[in-house]
């Protein structure tokens, strides 16, 4: 478990701190604010500090980049979290910028994985990343007015700064927000907007920025064409759009366009109380609500210093691992869909998943939106019976027999299948150094041979008690990603079996008294878990009130997409769809 002081106890970090502060005397200083840790770096020194961090200190993996608007101190802070792929605690760097004109050098040349995340900070806070190759809005559309996550920006349906809203009780007065808005819709125009003299932004600049071929002289002359795949397309796994430049059938460049499901998770999250955010996390990666819950609970528990009872810890692990199985089932099923095996494998995969959902539904109350974890435990214990059987027996049966059988069946008819092999082997190869540089995570990273999994690299909950392997493969292609998923499902069933063997039969599942409004001590925390798709991190800043001051989600699907363009270049269009399927994204998490 990550307690706050351990950062100073870790030898690696001591080295880091000594050499960073000593080397950049005056330009790097320790963050001494109450409840904070890490280092504050001068903006113009950032690239140098980052290179030292990466090359000399071994922090080769930049997991998260985000911003915080400290409006009272009149600065915007950009926060970087870096890790070592060999394991251990992370380190964070902060840069403080002027709110009026925030400019910071980009880190893309050092950590290419910062690309989309910097664009997001630009989109949400208006921070300009000097030297960024493609600094444009990423979640909102070009031409949108304002920087939504700044504290002084207000949306059309804005009611109050924080929840609960006073109008709900005792006055009542039910109404729909539409009634309050002069336009009757959820819109808000800047003052002085003249509807008659205005042209919408087009995508021309995006299309022009694509790298196109120029095949004059060589062989046959072909025209380069630009194709939009999505946002409504059966194989984009939701509302995702890929703008592809083609030379014949071959992809010369690919730009993902997202934000079609941007639901303002973080803006709403900063208005919610800490507890109210829990059901919202369900809707991030909506296939993995249990482990989303876990990550958020860990982040807040870190700040609160809450203890979690034994039995609750076991159930947490069980639920997180069942989630991993159900997610990988889904991912494999739909990867096969993208390969053209329409529906059949997906149906078998969904069938196994349904039984896992039964467990969730009976325990947490909903198939998908579990809202099950609380700060300091769980919402409730297992029910007595499930489908007329004892619940414990049901789950034991499930993890001992049914799931392993289902996994074996998938393995049996897919792994050796000639079509799967010929479509997958050698497609979308991601070498390990690139996988790390692009901050990829989860099966995508491990299929490239990098054995980095937070469950062992920075163990949380009680994962250190279980015997399991981190599954890696070495080729880094689509086929290996598929194999890693199959292996991981097997390991997960093993963990579940151990949980069912060791779990205390009785015990508390919540420490303390359930409270509807928790006060969280001031400070920052970065809670993270190994989600089925990669590292899911929550960066939470509290000012000691009932609402988080900043609530940021480092979403694995979003960061994993950074490398998509690279992976697809040189392949055929049909392969782009497969590569996307093998990355396994969920749009709720990409766009948040």
């Amino acid at each position: 478990m990550s307690d706050k002081d351990s950062l100073d106890n870790m030898p690696v970090n001591e080295v880091a701190s000594d050499s960073l502060v000593a080397r950049f005397d005056g330009e790097v200083r320790s963050d001494t604010r109450e409840g904070y840790e890490g280092y504050i770096v001068d903006a113009n020194m950032l690239p140098e500090v980052a290179s030292v961090l990466r090359d000399d200190l071994g922090y080769d993996y930049l997991s998260s980049v985000t911003g915080v608007d400290y409006i009272d101190d009149n600065h915007i802070e950009v926060v970087y979290h870096a890790d070592q792929t060999t394991g251990g605690k992370g380190i964070n760097l902060k840069v403080q910028l002027d709110r009026e004109n925030p400019i910071v050098p980009t880190l893309v040349p050092i950590y290419p994985g910062a690309d989309f995340q910097e664009r997001e900070v630009f989109d949400m806070y208006g921070v300009k990343f000097d030297g960024h190759p493609n600094l444009r809005r990423i979640l909102m559309w070009d031409g949108f007015h304002g920087y939504p996550l700044r504290k002084d920006w207000k949306e059309a349906y804005y009611e109050e700064d924080i929840k609960p809203f006073d109008s709900r009780w005792p006055g009542g007065g039910v109404k729909r927000s539409e009634a309050d808005n002069p336009y009757g819709k959820n819109v808000n125009y800047p003052p002085g907007f003249d509807i008659n003299n205005w042209t919408p932004e087009t995508d021309d600049s995006l299309y022009e920025s694509l790298e196109k071929t120029n095949s004059n002289g060589k062989s046959l002359h072909t025209d380069s064409i630009v194709v939009n795949i999505g946002p409504q397309h059966p194989s984009t796994h939701g509302v995702f759009r890929m703008v592809v430049a083609l030379d014949g059938e071959t992809i010369t460049d690919l730009q993902p366009v997202m934000g079609y499901l941007h639901r303002n998770h973080e803006k709403i999250g900063e208005r919610n109380t800490f507890l109210q955010n829990m059901p919202y996390t369900d809707r991030l990666d909506y296939l993995c609500s249990m482990s989303n819950n876990l990550g958020y609970a860990l982040a807040v528990e870190q700040l609160m210093g809450a203890d979690v009872p034994e039995r609750a810890q076991y159930i947490r692990v069980l639920m997180a691992e069942l989630t991993r199985i159900s997610n990988h089932m889904w991912a494999i099923g739909f990867l096969l869909n993208d390969l053209g095996a329409f529906q059949t494998p997906a149906l078998y995969a969904i069938r196994a998943r349904e039984l896992i959902l039964d467990v969730f539904e009976a325990t947490a109350g909903s198939r998908m939106m579990c809202n099950y974890m609380r700060f300091g435990g769980l919402a409730r214990d297992f029910p007595d019976t499930l489908r007329g059987e004892d619940t414990v027996k049901f789950i034991t049966d499930l993890v001992d027999n049914t799931l392993p059988k289902a996994i074996d069946e998938l393995d049996h008819f897919l792994t050796a299948n000639e079509i799967v092999r010929s479509r997958c082997i050698g497609v979308g190869v991601l070498p390990p150094d690139k996988a790390i540089a692009y901050s990829t995570g989860g099966p995508l990273l491990r299929a490239s041979g990098v054995s980095y999994d937070l469950r062992t690299a920075d163990p949380y909950s009680i994962y250190d008690r279980f015997d399991f392997n981190i599954c890696t493969r070495s080729n880094g292609d689509v086929y290996d990603r598929y194999l890693v998923r199959v292996d991981e499902m097997r390991e997960s069933t093993r963990i579940c079996q151990q949980v069912m063997r060791d779990i205390p039969a009785e015990g508390e599942i919540f420490s303390g008294k359930p409270q509807y409004s928790v006060k969280v001590p001031a400070g920052e925390s970065y809670g993270r878990v190994e989600n089925p798709k990669g590292e899911l991190g929550y960066y939470v800043v509290s000012t000691g009130k009932a609402n988080p001051y900043r609530y940021h989600v480092r979403a694995p699907s979003f960061v994993n997409l950074t490398v998509l363009g690279e992976l697809c270049k040189g392949h055929k269009v049909a392969d782009a769809v497969v590569i996307l399927g093998s990355i396994d994204i969920v749009l709720g998490e990409v766009d948040r």
């Binding site: 809203f165 709900r168 809202n371 499930l398 509807y516």
Partner: protein, 219 residues
């Protein structure tokens, strides 16, 4: 060898097909429309086809299942009803998307709030079925319903549930969530017993004190 992949795939499908017929024989015509076979078919032992023939048979929802919340009222013996809700406002405060509106009224004479809501609204177009309102209500007055068949042709009026629409008797609650109901009732009975015991103890102490005093006065 080419072709084995296809054969293997077909093999899996055929096995599932055969399983279904084997299963049919096992249930001897009782495969559908019976609760016990439903549990087996939908459980870990299920093989073959596991389709639920909705709407003729329905997959039973577990007790913890949550959909839209509802309000509880008690049926009194004289035929009147009492709301359990005291309009304390906790559910409105804890609701994450803030979709609960409660009107509390005050007594015109004393100005003190009346512990019963005048009206209670939930906008089900916002409600995220999270269950917090039920979880944190101190009076067990709001619970999560099991009724999911709510599709309608119009939402302008129908989708803001008011108190009349939300109110359901306690017996209904006892029928959909028997275990929860039982646990709550026992807890309440214990609480009452504790209170009564306390009262008794206090009374006994008082009596003892009085007796002592009297004894002292006698002396």
């Amino acid at each position: 060898m080419y072709g084995t992949g296809i054969l293997k795939g077909m093999g899996v499908t055929i096995r599932h097909l055969v399983d279904s017929f084997v299963d049919d024989m096992r249930f001897l015509g009782q495969r559908y429309y019976s609760d016990s076979s439903m549990n087996i078919r939908q459980g870990t032992e299920g093989r073959g086809v596991f389709t639920v023939q909705y709407p003729d048979e329905k997959l039973p929802v577990p007790e913890q299942f949550r959909f839209i919340p509802f309000l509880l009222y008690e049926n009194n013996e004289d035929g009147s009803t009492t709301d359990r809700c005291t309009s304390c406002g906790i559910c409105a405060k804890v609701c994450p998307p803030q979709c609960i509106w409660i009107e509390r009224s005050s007594d015109p004479d004393t100005g003190r709030p009346i512990p019963e809501p005048t009206n209670f609204y939930i906008d089900i177009d916002i409600c995220m079925n999270c269950g917090y309102c039920a979880e944190y209500c101190p009076f067990d007055a709001i619970k999560m319903d099991h009724d999911y068949e709510l599709a309608s042709y119009d939402r302008t009026e129908a989708h803001i549930f008011d108190k009349a629409r939300l109110d359901k008797p306690v017996e209904y609650y006892a029928s959909i969530r028997p275990n929860d109901y039982l646990a709550e009732e026992t807890a309440r009975a214990e609480e009452l017993a504790k209170k009564a015991a306390k009262k008794e103890a206090a009374a006994a102490r008082k009596a003892a004190a009085a007796a002592k005093k009297a004894a002292a006065e006698d002396n």
